[in-house]
Each structure stands twice: as C-alpha cells, then as structure tokens.
C-alpha cells in the first residue's frame, strides 16, 4: 500500500466531513403556522397558534422556548414546560458561582412570581423589577396564578410582562409575555393571550 497515496485520498474526505460539520443545521429559527398543533418547550404541552408565530432557536434552558412576532425585543413569549423540582427556569451560567433560584419542593403558587423575579434579577442582572399584580387564574385546566410585572431591561428600556403559571405533579408550567411598556406591550398582549388560550397539557 502506498502510504502517500492513501493520505492524499483521505484529505478530501476530511474536507467533506468538516464541511458537513460546519454547514450542519445550526437549528435555524422556526416558523409556527396557523392552526397546526405543536409541542412546546420539549414537554407534553401543546399549543395551536391562531396566527403565524416565529420560534427562536436560542433556548434559555432545556425546557424553555421563545416565540415572537416581530423579534424578542418587541414581543417575547417564553414557555417553560414542566420544570422539575430542583431545577432553575433557565440554564445556569455557572452552577457553583452563579446559582439561580430553583423550583422548590411543595412550592406554593404564590412563590412563582418570586421565582421569576429572582431569575430575572440574578440571571439577567436586572436591578429594577416589580411584580405589579398577582391573581388566581386557571391554566392548563388547573389552579394557577396570573401575574404582571414591570422592569428595566439591560437596554435601559422599561418592559412590562404578564405571566400565567401552574404546578402539575410538582412540575412548573409557565408562559410569559414580555414587551416594551411603550406601545408594544399593549399591541401584542391580545395575540399572546389568544395563543395562550390554545395551550393544552394532555
């Protein structure tokens, strides 16, 4: 066997392999079509969008998924699908040095807004955050909580948010809608609520 010939042959193969590695789908942003039921946030939770939405490929955590109409800075719907006890809402940057608040054992519904606030403050370095209302609400056919909040984001823009959450068998299911207080929150709120109405956990 001619060693030189062999190595010359393998070089193109390596090139092809590396080209595949480079161009392999870096999971592009997705498209969520009207009326098609889809699973969200790697959980059993499904929604049937009443209008077209965009799915962002960036995932905050294993069980988190972000949808948007015009870009996440203008309207951001994030689903948290079945976060288990002992897990944070989003992936921790550093488990030891920058731990995030976790879903607790025997968590109360009223503690969910505190969990979201703590996550936003610690994970996104948001110094101004206020929960503006907390009310009982039904979610996925269960007793749940609906809350609203307001915060100053890192771009120094004030954003408002509305979230609905529930705990099923110890797992946390939540959907949040975040948008700039100026114009976009009011503009997108009904679209978010309409999407949320279709959420089902079989």
């Amino acid at each position: 066997v001619n060693i030189k010939a062999l190595s010359l042959k393998t070089i193109p193969t390596l090139f092809v392999l590396s080209a595949i590695a480079i161009t392999s789908p870096a999971v592009a942003n997705g498209y969520r079509e009207t009326g098609k039921t889809v699973k969200v946030a790697k959980s059993e939770l499904t929604v049937t969008p009443p209008q077209d939405w965009n799915l962002l490929s960036v995932r905050l955590g294993k069980n988190a998924e972000t949808w948007t109409l015009d870009g996440e800075q203008l309207n951001d719907v994030t689903f948290y699908g079945g976060i288990a006890i002992g897990n944070p809402l989003v992936k921790e940057r550093n488990k030891k040095r920058e731990p995030l608040p976790k879903v607790g054992k025997n968590m109360l519904l009223i503690e969910i807004p505190e969990l979201l606030e703590g996550t936003y403050r610690a994970y996104r370095n948001i110094p101004v955050f206020k929960v503006t209302s907390t009310e009982p609400a039904n979610f996925l056919g269960n007793e749940g909580v609906q809350f609203t909040y307001e915060y100053v984001d890192n771009d120094k823009l004030t954003r408002k948010g509305e979230a609905r959450a529930t705990l099923i068998k110890g797992k946390l299911y939540m959907a949040t809608f975040d948008a700039p207080r100026l114009h976009y929150f009011d503009k997108g709120l009904e679209d978010y609520r309409a999407l949320l109405e279709t959420a089902v956990l079989p």
Binding site: K96, R97, P99, L100, P101, K102, G104, N106, L108, L109, I110, E111, P113, E114, E117, G118, R121, A122, P127, V128, F129, V131, T132, S133, T134, E135, P136, V145, V152, K156, T158
Partner: protein, 400 residues
C-alpha cells in the same frame, strides 16, 4: 526588544516599581487649580463622548433621583475632597446591587446602590468618593486611553514587521511582545488605582473624617467575599494574588497600604456613622431586597449581620426572614418564621412580615398559624397586589 518596547510605551515603563509613597501617610492634595477644561484633541473628544453618555444617563430609569439622598452624597463628597473641588463632579445614584462606583473623564460620578448598602459610615463613603474623585483629578481615563493606544499601535507595527519575516522565531517574539504589552496595560490600570487610592487618602487626611475607615472598607469586603464563597461551597479566595488581567490591586494589598496612608492622629476623628445611618436607613429595605434577590446567600447574610451590629431593626429582621425563606430549605423556614416574628415584635403593623411569616409557616405545615398571619397581612394591607391570591389560602370565615 524591551528597550524598544519601553521607548514605544514609555508611559507604561515608568510605573513598573511599586511606589514607596504608599508606605507613609498620604500628603495633602495639591492646591486646587480651578475649573478644568479639556486640552487637546484626545481629551476634548473623550469629554464630548462622555457628555453624550451623561445626557442619556440623566434620563435613565435606573437612576435614583431622590433630592435628599443626592444632596447628602454631594455634601459628603465636598466634605472629603474640599468645597472648592467638589463642584466639578456630578453624582448619579444607580440602582444596581453591586459594590461599585465609577468616575468618568468629564466629572460624572456613578454611585451604585449596592455600595451605599455596604458603607457603614460617612468616612467609609468619603474614602470611596475621594478615590473616584482622584481618578478625575489625575485624568486617569485620558492617560489610560493614551496608553492603550500606544500599546496597540506598537503591537500593530510589530505584527506587520513579524509578518515580513515569517520565521518561527519572529512569530514567537511577537507573541512574547503581545503578552508583555497586554500585561503592562493591566498593570498600568492597577497603578492608576493605587494612585487614586493615594490621592483619595490625601483628601481624607485633610478632611474632618477618620481616614482609617478607608482600609476598613476593604477588610469588610474581604469578609463578605469569604462569606459568599463559603456559603456556596467554593474554595477560600486568595486576596493577595494579582491575576494577569486584574483591573484593581488585590483587596488585601489595598487594605494594607490604605491603613499605612492614613495619618495616625486622624484615628480619633468622628467617622459620621450615626449621620450616615440616619440618612440611608430609609433606603435600606429597598437596597437589601435588591441584594437578597441576587441569590447570594453568604454575602446577603454578612451584610444583614453587619448592619445589625448597631442593633436589630424590624427591617433587618424582615430582610433576614426573606433571605432564609427564599433559600427554601426546610430548616430555613423555621428560622425565617422566627425572624419574621422578631420583626413583628419590633413593628406590629409590618404587613409584609406577616405575609412572610404566613408563607413560611405554610411550608412547615403549621396551617392554622399561617392562616392567622396571612389574614393579619390582608387586614393591614387590603390593597396588596397579591391580596386575591393570599385570600385563596385562607378559609372564608377567617377573611370576613
């Protein structure tokens, strides 16, 4: 190479050796030269950019625009650096729970709320403000900009020359040069911090405040960092090591030379701890809340305990209760309940303490007591934003 390097970045080489000036008490600051205006294209450009950033800062939603607080801080700055000098700085209090303050070239001083939470006296505050003012007076931002420019200019030319003789040796020489230039830029920045510390202590020595407080700031910070790392189960930090990219001298070094820089006869001076506490106390609950929600148990516990050295207040007990309840171990709820109770003993109408107590008791299975606490919360704060939710946790007859 070293000779060429030093010629190229002379500015950097002049500051190699640690200054002997840091071992004796700091001299009084030089006489005030009057209102300073930027000189030359670099400085004028830097100030112009900075004016722009100050304009957006002054409209920023994270600035605390409380007149009383701002007047007080300005007063402390003037007390520290002198009434002639202090007019050239504008203070902005930023709501951000970290220990920091910055000064930019045109005299914009940013003071972080987390710093105010950690200070224990006017003298400590004056030490920080004086240090920041020292950066301004010595025009550190400009010098740093220039040193970065000379350093990177040198590297650009060196990269060009190295590419002209593509040998292994020239590549390796270039890489060595790169490491030493970057290392010296960081070292230069640390020396600027030392210089600002020296000048800051100069101000403090000439003021009416106790200069020894400057060193105590760093001693407290080291204790806090230790508390934070030990609660997180991390290795004990080393406070005497300088990392390659450190922007500041290590805390132990600063604590050491700041103590030496303070004039001994200043030790008996007033440090204004009572005045400071009186001014800041109304902000403590809010700043503590911001700190607690950072999820740094050790540091928060250290801060609460050190604030409580002068006596526990209802606000401090409440904050401690929240801290333990939010950590959420089963044993934490028991401690939290006790802390909330202490808060309600000192202040019987503290609605949020009853809320915390109720939620903590729910967790430990003491449902009846929990419901009593929660209905007390609702009766004290019927318009609470979570009133409906809390109401669901109480049986009907209790809410009536």
């Amino acid at each position: 190479v070293k000779a060429i390097f030093c010629a190229g970045v002379g500015l950097l080489c002049s500051t190699f050796s640690p200054s002997p000036a840091l071992a004796t008490p700091a001299a009084a600051p030089p006489p005030y030269e009057g209102i300073y205006q930027p000189q030359g294209v670099d400085e004028i450009g830097l100030w112009r950019e900075d004016d722009e950033s100050e304009r957006s800062l002054s409209n920023s939603p994270i600035v605390i625009r409380d007149e009383g607080l701002n007047t007080y801080l300005k007063g402390v700055l003037c007390e520290a650096v002198g009434f002639d000098r202090c007019g050239s700085a504008r203070i902005y209090v930023i709501k951000e729970p970290t220990f920091n303050a910055t000064m930019s070239p045109n005299g914009t001083m940013r003071v972080y709320s987390g710093m105010l939470l950690r200070m224990r006296s006017e003298a400590e505050l004056a030490a920080i403000l004086g240090h920041e003012f020292g950066h301004f007076e010595n025009r550190h931002s400009l010098n740093q900009f220039k040193s970065h420019r000379s350093g990177t200019d040198l590297l650009s030319w060196a990269a060009l020359l190295a590419s002209m003789s593509p040998s292994y040796q020239s590549r390796s020489n270039f890489e060595n040069l790169q490491i030493s230039v970057y290392g010296n830029l960081y070292r230069y920045q640390r020396d600027q911090e030392r210089e600002a510390d020296l000048l800051g202590l100069g101000y403090l020595n000439s003021s009416k405040l106790r200069p020894q407080a400057a060193s105590e700031v760093w001693q407290n910070l080291m204790k806090e960092i230790e508390a934070s790392t030990s609660a997180r189960g991390l290795k004990k930090p080393r406070f005497d090591r300088i990392a390659y990219t450190s922007s500041h001298p290590p805390q132990a070094e600063r604590a050491g030379y700041l103590a030496d820089l303070a004039i001994p006869e200043g030790a008996t001076r007033d440090d204004g701890a009572d005045r400071y506490r009186a001014e800041i106390s109304k902000w403590i609950p809010e700043f503590l809340n911001d700190q607690i929600l950072l999820n740094d148990f050790g540091a928060s516990e250290y801060i609460i305990n050190s604030l409580a050295e002068t006596g526990w207040t209802a606000d401090l007990w409440f904050a401690r209760g929240e801290l333990f309840r939010l950590r959420g171990n089963q044993r934490d709820y028991i401690n939290a309940s006790q802390f909330y109770r202490e808060a309600t003993i000192l202040q019987s109408d503290m609605a949020d303490a009853y809320r915390g107590l109720g939620l903590a008791l729910m967790k430990t299975g003491e449902r009846t007591d929990a419901q009593i606490a929660l209905s007390k919360y609702l009766s004290l704060k019927p318009e609470a934003t979570d009133a409906k939710m809390i109401g669901m946790m109480i049986p009907k007859e209790e809410t009536e």
